[in-house]
């Protein structure tokens, strides 16, 4: 009985250690490979395309690291607005410049394009590098 209990204790310790080691390795992989942003002043082009295809362009320089920071900077300047909600996948953009995209109503959403390509990351994790061009497009 004591041996059985001792064996279970050892198995728990070994499995818990394996879990901690695996989590540590994963964390290391993340920190060595996470999307990196350049420091300093970076030129950007930011375009918003609405539901009628009309576009509005913003150009400038920023020190922000990620797209959400750039959007917040534009919002603070007053000529751009956005609303969204935070989910486990990061920021979900719900409306831009007062135009709401409701996926539940008509499958509309705000798509992010980076340098002409469909973005692979959310606004929270999309790095801003010098010369980058971003587009927020209302799509169905």
């Amino acid at each position: 009985m004591t041996n059985k209990k001792g064996g279970a204790k050892l198995a728990i310790i070994i499995t818990a250690s394996a879990l901690v080691i695996a989590a540590g390795v994963f964390a290391l992989v993340y920190f060595l490979n996470k999307p990196k942003a350049e420091e300093g002043t970076k030129a950007y082009t930011f375009v918003v395309v609405d539901d009628k295809g009309a576009s509005k362009e913003y150009k400038g320089k920023t020190d922000t690291q990620f797209l959400r920071g750039l959007m917040d900077e534009l919002k603070a300047k007053g000529d751009f607005t956005y609303e969204g909600s935070d989910s486990e996948y990061g920021l979900y953009i719900e409306s831009v410049n007062g135009l709401k995209a409701d996926y539940n109503v008509d499958k509309a959403y705000w798509a992010i394009y980076v340098n002409g390509e469909y973005g692979q990351l959310g606004a929270d994790t999309q790095p801003v590098n010098d010369g980058d061009s971003f587009k927020l497009a209302y799509e169905k």
């Binding site: 279970a8 879990l19 989590a23 994963f26 964390a27 992989v29 996470k34 486990e88 994790t125």
Partner: protein, 178 residues
């Protein structure tokens, strides 16, 4: 595998419970009880839980629309159910299921990244997995806490409901319903 009227009703209840619990915890990032409930159902009701997981995926698709995660859900939950079922058959202790929840949370992103290999290539899949590692670690922590606190009582309660006294890691074959 034969399905009785009781099975159909049970599968419906399992799906409804999982869907309700998912909605209830939706506001808390990376905290979910779907993993825990599928594990408890798998060791109690057996492989028929896979049907509940597929219906759950169908309901989620109706709510959120068709996306790449639908493919992930089609295999990730049945895989968890299969692992839990065979661990239950081996009469592994409750702590082993707590670790199953922990590891499943930690490797969730890696397992989910598989469809990206076919849609964007191995580089896209790896980048997608790496970007989600902080969420996977949080997922592992929350699964560990939830399973540690709730796996045993839920398993005991469910075993009691279907009529066999809980004997600590043993489920009667008569009540496995497979």
């Amino acid at each position: 595998m034969r399905f009785t009227v009781k099975d159909i009703a049970t599968i419906g209840l399992m799906t409804a419970l999982i869907e309700a619990v998912k909605w209830a915890l939706q506001g808390i990032p990376n905290v979910e009880m779907v993993t825990l409930l599928f594990m408890v159902f798998a060791v109690t009701y057996g492989l028929k839980t896979c049907i509940a997981s597929l219906i759950f995926t169908g309901v989620e698709t109706l709510i959120w629309g068709v996306h790449i995660w639908v493919i992930m859900y089609i295999y990730i939950w049945p895989l968890l159910i299969l692992i839990s079922y065979f661990m239950g058959k081996k009469k592994l202790p409750d702590w082993a299921f707590v670790f199953l929840g922990s590891f499943y949370g930690l490797f969730f992103g890696m397992i989910c990244a598989v469809p990206y290999v076919f849609f964007g290539g191995i580089k896209v899949a790896v980048a997608w997995w790496i970007a989600g590692i902080p969420f996977d670690i949080l997922h592992a922590v929350s699964n560990t806490v939830l399973c540690l606190v709730l796996f045993k009582p839920l398993r005991m309660a469910l075993t009691k409901i279907i009529g066999t006294p809980y004997k600590g890691g043993e489920i009667s074959e008569d009540n496995r319903h497979t």
